[in-house]
Symmetry: C2
Subunit: 255 residues, 2 copies
């Protein structure tokens, strides 16, 4: 097995960092690798904000569902879906008058452009994760950056055709002891030629390990099963409700 | 520089494949690496459809903006944002009656859940790309899978809470001669602490290489500059209009 596969197969999220800083040279290596990520039509429909200001990190540790480790992360990158740069360039290139000459209506980015820009940003983010991991630098995704849109928009001066799609914390791990998180079986995730919707017995088989963990847990008595626990603790939690409110606002703002 | 960084820095999209097949063992190695990709709350909010049926590939070569190389790709993976599996599991776990007992309304996945599931799917996709690349297997993203939603939904039996967010073609490259595509400068993509919106001179500097390529191109006389050419050939093209119509329909369908 090659080194890259080993890096991928042994990665886990790192939320506790050693005192070792991430140097400017290492940051630049991560960024150089990231900027080679595939991008739709070579348009690079994303931006990256390096969050180095401690005050910003402190604020993010609160706004991203109260996760204090964000403030302690040696390196933080915010990934934006970004059509603003192109819209600004189109404007100075005189597309308005050219469209008028051609007798066609101008268009603005829609939700399709938004999703395509999200693709670019996320492909870049995962490239950063694997690059960093290969250098011994751990990482953790902060999906909670999708919450509190209005606050983050102001905090980072985000113009209309940008959307904060994900954030990454990087740092050397405090501990080298790694236990990998279990994943669901391939049979549940990978389908052959068509989507195979699982029936009751398929779902019960696929989620059996989750149910076992749930029954061994100390809060098992709150809910009848792991499905209920996941629904109420995650899917219907306050942060999930906020996530959906915030993203609706982002999409409205984009449109 | 380590091997993983070399893999990332030297990758380019591969659309022409040699006769060498991708073996079942190699496919399984790619999938095993992919399934280790980070995922929000360890929920694995995605599915992967292995497209092995030649009739499906032939159809995709047409529906994804007429790209015949898709039909010739030795290995094709379709990535879905997927909340259906969890919704089905919640249902058999009796969340409806539990919600009624607790006196709280039930919720369905919203656009926030949709974007979070897209994050999971795309992070997995780029993990597959880097894993394959490390094995000498090239790849190409097919963003056009976002078009023609109704056709793809029927072709792959997609249930309501799934969304085809991206597709990947894999294969050994026909040629080993690689010239990397140029990327925009780091100064244009990476911001420090806040979004820095470029002014006219910043945009002109950032897009100078694109303008030079445009002026050297044989179709330069159709438009006054590269911004106009990009706008009319890409951003306002028929496929871009279809992309946005299709994604609007996906989002409506999800909601």
């Amino acid at each position: 097995m090659n080194d890259t596969l080993k890096v991928i197969l042994n990665r886990r999220s790192v939320r506790a960092y050693s005192g070792r800083p991430v140097t400017r040279e290492e940051k630049d290596q991560i960024l150089a690798a990231t900027l080679r990520a595939p991008t739709a039509g070579n348009l690079m429909l994303y931006s990256i904000i390096e969050v180095e200001d401690q005050k910003l990190k402190d604020r993010l540790a609160v706004t991203c569902d109260n996760q204090p480790f964000i403030a302690r992360a040696p390196y933080v990158l915010l990934f934006l879906a970004d059509y603003q740069r192109w819209m600004d360039y189109f404007q100075i290139c005189g597309v308005s008058s050219k469209a008028a000459d051609l007798g066609v209506p101008e268009r603005k980015p829609g939700t399709g452009d938004l999703l395509l820009a999200c693709c670019d940003a996320l492909i870049a983010a995962q490239t950063a994760v694997i690059a960093a991991e290969s250098m011994g630098i751990g990482s953790c995704y902060i999906g909670d950056i999708l919450e509190r849109y209005e606050i983050h928009r102001e905090l980072f001066d985000l113009p209309p055709f940008t959307l904060p799609i994900t954030m990454l914390c990087f740092g050397y791990p405090a501990s080298t002891a790694k236990r990998l998180t279990t994943r669901y079986d391939k049979e549940m995730i990978v389908h052959s030629n068509r989507y195979k919707r699982l029936d009751k017995s398929g779902l019960e088989k696929g989620f059996a390990a989750l149910e076992n963990d749930f029954r061994a847990g100390h809060r098992a008595h709150d809910y009848a099963n792991a499905g209920q626990a996941t629904y109420f603790r995650k899917f219907a939690s306050d942060f999930a409700v906020e996530l959906n409110r915030s993203v609706s606002e982002m999409i409205n703002n984009w449109e």
